[in-house]
């Protein structure tokens, strides 16, 4: 294992950035706007332009559960060192919503900058902040854009002002518009014209009094920028997805929407007909029911949901577990319990997912951290589900699913599709021969706990069987015999053990001499890497294991064994992964400590450091 603290393959060195008066490519910009006012285009354009300048960047949307009218925030972080996690405060804040001015001002880092709409006429109660008023209404009115688009145009105005003041390359802005408007030249040009005018206004009217500047780099060459849900959909498509039933719920809906958008692009059959179906169900019970039906019948099937939907899927998941039906469930987590904060991020469904449904159940869970892993787990989850004939849950979250991440580009799957032990007519004939006529849907022929399966449509006269959630024997026959039940449970447990060894292995990053371990998973990754960097500066060396799948492989217990104490970092109140780790590794549970919190915001590196250090002080 090599010594490393690296972020999504971006950071090139662990060295401190030079301290100088000018701050280049190492700050955050937060845009405070009004929901539904069309600010997304402006924010994405700035983010894309910076990305195209070769600078590592991330974009996080903090939005209300509302369609129009409430405050909303978008933070772009630029980091020449590749640290792209959430920051609690920003160096630069752009305020387009006069109502939130005071609150926004408080979030500017000392020495930072505030750009604000000159509709705000009040005082600016901080001396340590540079303030630039922006006549957005006036500048917007000067364009020849129809009045109903003025709100939107006001946002385009701030692109120009920021570009001018920070040195964002105008050519890149033009390209970003091209990406956004998918080449519609008229839209690109008219928007760019607004940017130009606003920049000109800034050039003529604002004097730069702050140190923040953007300068081209080459750290994003060949990289991609996008959000996890789109990547999950693309990954599923490269995994040969054939069926998805879903029910709308934030923050998962864009997985299904992306399937609807991309499937026709990637999967045209010669005759123009479809090799897949995406069905909007009437609720999540039906969505998962259809997906279970499709998986049972031999289709690569996936559904996507979030907390409340997952709760509704409990009964069907138990059936799929026990009847051994492959399917994939993407759970894009948001803050719960209950409806909770539907537009805020959390990792709060870990224990529920692991123990979901009554009775003794066990699930394979995959946890992606990056855009690229969303893509990879998109196709791998379908392989794993069919290979192990079981539900696979993928735990993403709002932050990963809906926010903007850069990553190394997707790679074409490095192995053929794994359809698992499925038998068509001739395969079945051979299997029957191999087993001297003995054939049963749930027979453990290979001793790995994984039986062979046939699917409907198979015309072999011995292919049919009656699947059920009631007790059944190796042949699928109904049974209440104690020994049959126990045998079934044991085989299922063996199957789970078989899976343990082949699921995506944890990622381990170490530092020479570190005694303290950190375990994390999912979207805390960026903040953890940055926290390790900060801790190192404080003289605290840490090793880091990132869980990518449950059940845990033995690397996880070995990692815990190797360390004096291990902090489990997670975005929930109860320290849920720590609970699961304790339950699974009781002999090592005493070494685990919890760094857990949930308030709707992603973890910042500073927060992890704070929470970890407060425990380091304890004996």
């Amino acid at each position: 294992m090599e010594e490393s603290i690296a972020n999504a393959g971006v950071a090139t060195s662990l060295g401190c950035s030079e301290v100088s008066r000018e701050v280049v490519n190492d700050f955050s910009i937060t845009f405070s706007t009004i929901n539904g006012s069309g600010s997304a285009t402006a924010n994405l354009t700035i983010m894309r332009a910076i990305f195209k300048m070769g600078i590592p960047v991330s974009g996080k949307n903090i939005f209300p559960s509302n369609i129009k009218g409430l405050p909303t925030w978008f933070t772009i972080r630029l980091s020449k060192d590749g640290f792209l996690g959430y920051t609690e405060k920003s160096e630069i804040v752009v305020v387009m919503n006069p109502q939130t001015f005071a609150r926004d001002l408080a979030t500017v880092k000392p020495g930072g900058v505030i750009f604000y709409t000159d509709e705000y006429k009040g005082p600016i109660e901080r001396g340590d902040v540079v303030a630039y008023p922006m006549p957005v209404k006036k500048l917007a009115k000067e364009t020849d854009i129809p009045a109903n688009l003025r709100d939107y145009i006001e946002n385009v105005v701030y692109i120009g002002i920021l570009a001018q003041m920070l040195g964002i390359d105008f050519e890149r802005i033009y390209q970003a518009f091209e990406t956004h408007f998918q080449g519609k030249k008229k839209a690109v040009d008219s928007n760019f014209e607004v940017v130009r005018r606003a920049a000109k206004w800034a050039e003529e009217n604002l004097e730069k009094r702050d140190p923040y500047r953007v300068a081209p780099m080459n750290l994003t060459d060949g990289m991609i920028l996008g959000s996890g849900n789109a990547a999950a959909a693309l990954g599923s498509i490269f995994g040969g997805i054939q069926f998805s039933a879903w029910y709308p719920i934030t923050p998962s809906s864009s997985i299904a929407e992306s399937l609807n958008e991309y499937l026709p692009m990637f999967r045209k059959a010669a005759d123009g007909k479809a090799t897949y179906a995406v069905v909007q169900a009437e609720d999540e019970i039906s969505a998962v029911g259809m997906t279970v039906g499709a998986g049972w019948a031999g289709l690569r099937a996936m559904t996507a949901t979030s907390g409340p939907g997952l709760s509704l899927m409990a009964e069907y998941l138990g059936l799929a577990y026990y009847a051994e039906v492959p399917l994939v469930v993407w759970n894009v987590q948001r803050v719960g319990p209950s409806t909770g904060l539907p537009t805020r991020t959390a990792q709060g469904d870990v224990t529920f997912s692991y123990f979901i449904s009554h009775g003794d159940t066990k699930y394979i869970i995959l946890i992606p951290s990056t855009l690229k892993e969303c893509f990879e787990f998109g196709w791998q989850s379908l392989d794993i589900a069919e290979r192990f004939q079981t539900p696979v849950l993928v735990l993403s979250d709002l932050d990963l699913g809906m926010n903007y991440w850069i990553s190394a580009p997707f790679e074409y799957p490095d192995r053929p599709m794994d359809r698992g032990k499925i038998l068509w007519e001739e395969d079945l004939e051979k299997m029957i021969e191999r087993c001297q006529g003995k054939w049963g849907r749930y027979l453990d022929v290979d001793g790995d706990g994984i039986p062979y399966r046939t699917v409907m449509g198979n015309r072999h006269p011995r292919s049919g069987y009656f699947a059920r959630g009631t007790g059944h024997d190796d042949f699928g026959k109904y049974t209440e015999l104690p020994e049959d039940w126990e045998k079934g449970m044991k085989r299922l447990a063996l199957k789970f053990e078989t899976a343990r060894a082949v699921l995506p292995e944890p990622e381990i990053r170490t530092l020479q001499g570190a005694q303290i371990g950190i375990i994390a998973y999912g979207t805390t990754h960026d903040a953890v890497e940055e926290a390790r960097y900060l801790l190192k500066k404080e003289g605290i060396l840490t090793n880091y294991l990132r869980i990518r799948a449950l059940p845990f492989s033995k690397e996880v217990s070995q990692f815990v064994e190797r360390h004096q104490r291990v902090y489990v970092v997670e975005l929930n109140f109860d320290g849920q992964m720590k609970q699961v780790l304790s339950a699974e590794m009781p002999m090592l549970a005493h070494k685990l400590r919890s760094v857990a919190k949930v308030d709707g915001m992603p973890f910042s590196a500073e927060c992890i450091v704070r929470m970890l250090l407060s425990q380091e002080e304890r004996p």
Partner: protein, 348 residues
């Protein structure tokens, strides 16, 4: 006219199968249970239609009714799902191979109590399947509680009198734009069988609400759900027969002017022979009318209440390739390797 092969121990149908090839395991239902007589008519209908058992797939929920698929078509695939949530299971599976016939069995509790939502949405989608509700107006398997179809005022063993008006399965199907809506009575096996045949040959969703007495928990004569009560109140709308493609309709079998034909997509016909008043199963308005009237007059109307043989079914709406989806290979499913660049270009 309908049967082609003389029945008998070793008789076979046109594809060389015996009736036994359509049977399942020994029943564990109570002797006399209506569900078993329906199971027998399913065997007969499939035998007479010369269906390949492997080409029929059975789905059910939970209940005595939902257990019954083990008692017929033992060679077929089947899935005994969850209580009230069978429609979604069948719907998802149906996309895997649209050439199979789906035979779904449910109970009145399974469909009208816990299953109301899925039932209605399944109808609305015109999911191609035969959906049989074995309606005994009671929960059999859990031992005699009332269901949503128990008539108002019926006294049940431990639960007092039922308080609410019963759900009318056919009316519900009709309201949800089902394209084949029929009611029958387990005590009328011939009608049951012919309706099953017609339903199998219908291209969209076909609902059969079959009154199927529970001899153990709900066979009071005062209830329409009993053998005696059902018989006493039955009002058949017509005599019904399914006539396959190859059969000539011997017009002699019917008095002229008294028959109506429904042409089905497979080339067969449903032949309806007038009984009493004229009834037009193509009219949704008339269907609402007769169900409302039956409700007021406490009739058990049986027969084909509504049919629209031409409406597109769920699969038609998805424009699927001809090969069953579940037989598609990696080369059909995984985009070629150069498409990875297209994917990456989308992420900019």
């Amino acid at each position: 006219m309908i049967e082609h092969v003389v029945d008998g121990a070793k008789a076979t149908n046109q594809i060389g199968l015996t009736r036994a090839d359509y049977r399942g395991v020994q029943s564990t239902l109570c002797p006399g249970c209506g569900h078993m007589s329906i199971a027998n008519q399913i065997v007969n209908a499939c035998y007479e239609l010369n269906l390949v058992p492997e080409q029929v797939v059975k789905f059910s929920g939970i209940g005595c009714s939902s257990k019954s698929p083990t008692y017929f078509l033992g060679r077929s695939f089947g899935f005994n799902g969850l209580h009230g949530r069978m429609p979604s299971l069948a719907t998802g599976a149906s996309f895997a191979d649209t050439s199979v016939e789906i035979l779904a069995i449910s109970g009145d509790g399974d469909t009208a109590s816990i299953g109301m939502g899925q039932f209605k949405h399944c109808m609305r989608r015109n999911t191609p399947m035969v959906y049989i509700v074995e309606n005994n107006g009671v929960y059999g398997l859990t031992k005699g509680q009332y269901s949503a179809t128990t008539e108002q005022g019926i006294q049940l063993r431990k639960y007092g009198k039922t308080k609410f008006m019963p759900v009318d399965i056919c009316l519900e199907a009709l309201a949800s734009n089902a394209t084949f809506v029929a009611r029958s009575f387990a005590g009328d096996p011939k009608q049951v069988k012919e309706l099953i045949k017609a339903a199998i040959k219908h291209s969209g969703v076909a609902v059969l609400d079959i009154i199927s007495p529970c001899v153990t928990f709900h066979n009071l004569e005062t209830s329409l759900h009993s053998y005696v009560g059902g018989k006493g109140h039955e009002v058949p709308l017509h005599d019904i027969a399914y006539v396959p493609l190859l059969d000539e309709i011997t017009v002699d079998d019917f008095e002229t002017g008294t028959i109506k034909e429904v042409a089905l997509h497979d080339g067969g016909h449903i032949v309806l022979k007038k009984l009493g008043e004229d009834y037009d199963p193509f009219s949704r308005a008339q269907a609402f009318h007769i169900l409302e009237e039956a409700h007021r007059k406490n009739w058990l109307v049986t027969g084909l209440i509504y049919v629209d043989p031409d409406e597109k079914n769920l699969h038609d709406l998805f424009n699927l390739v001809d090969t069953p989806l579940n037989r598609l290979k990696e080369e059909h499913l995984r985009p070629p390797s150069d498409m990875i660049d297209v994917a990456n270009q989308l992420m900019q």
